[in-house]
């Protein structure tokens, strides 16, 4: 975990399942709340799997995730961004990623969400291993290319 240094962002990398969402009606200035859950799909590279195992480069992953969040709140007129990335074993159907963006209006929230997730996928040193029903564990061979969002073929978990 990393403690956010800017009150607009809260980024965490955690081995625990993401906690249930708590209802929160306190943001009376912010009309738009947008939440994204990235969930583990039941296949990887065409093979059925039972889980993904995420590993991170500890130290840099936390720093870079926070920098991506800060870049996002600088670049888009949004008020707050929360990102929790789960690592370790994440079962099929479970959420590996939660991002919440609060803004006055929905358009900037949607744009910020798209940019943040795409940047996270290209910048934050996290990788995944697929786990099959018979216990085999293989590294995903398919990452995102280095060309930025437009090169993101997005054939994976989300």
């Amino acid at each position: 975990m990393t403690a956010a240094t800017d009150p607009r962002v809260d980024t965490r990398i955690t081995e625990d399942p993401l906690p249930p969402l708590e209802p929160d009606d306190s943001r009376v200035k912010l009309g738009a709340e947008l939440l994204f859950h990235g969930r583990v799909r039941d296949e990887e590279e065409g093979r059925p799997i039972v889980a993904l195992e995420y590993e991170r480069y500890e130290g840099l992953a936390e720093k870079e995730l926070e920098r991506v969040a800060l870049d996002t709140v600088e670049r888009f007129p949004i008020d707050q961004l929360v990102c929790w990335h789960r690592i370790g074993r994440v079962g099929v159907g479970e959420a590996s990623l939660r991002v919440v963006v609060w803004s006055c209006h929905r358009v900037e929230g949607l744009e910020a969400m798209a940019w943040f997730i795409s940047s996270l996928k290209h910048r934050v040193p996290i990788w995944k291993w697929a786990v099959t029903a018979d216990g085999e564990r293989f590294p995903s061979t398919c990452g995102h290319d280095e060309n930025g969002p437009e090169g993101d073929h997005g054939t994976h978990a989300h």
Partner: protein
């Protein structure tokens, strides 16, 4: 004979899979760069992994291949990231 230093390569994803361990200490001549460490690492990898574009980090920060390494440095060559 050149003075040697030891640095530790930290391996992830397909690199880790082929190296077979998370940490790989290697010896390099004093004055070597991250690029020199990468040449050593790539020589140990099969063709399809060697072909991957990799980003470089030294001591938990992104770095250039021209960065000169010090004894004890933690050096990482990162295959394409897969977070999310």
């Amino acid at each position: 004979m050149a003075e040697m230093i030891t640095v530790t390569l930290v391996c992830f994803s397909q690199v880790r899979h082929h190296i077979g361990s998370h940490l790989l200490p290697i010896e390099l001549p004093l004055g070597s760069t991250a690029g020199d460490a990468e040449a050593d690492l790539r020589s140990r990898l099969p063709e399809h992994v060697r072909a991957l574009p990799m980003r470089v980090a030294v001591n938990q920060e992104f770095a250039e291949r021209s960065a000169v390494l010090q004894a004890g440095d933690e050096v990482v060559f990162m295959p394409p990231m897969q977070g999310g």
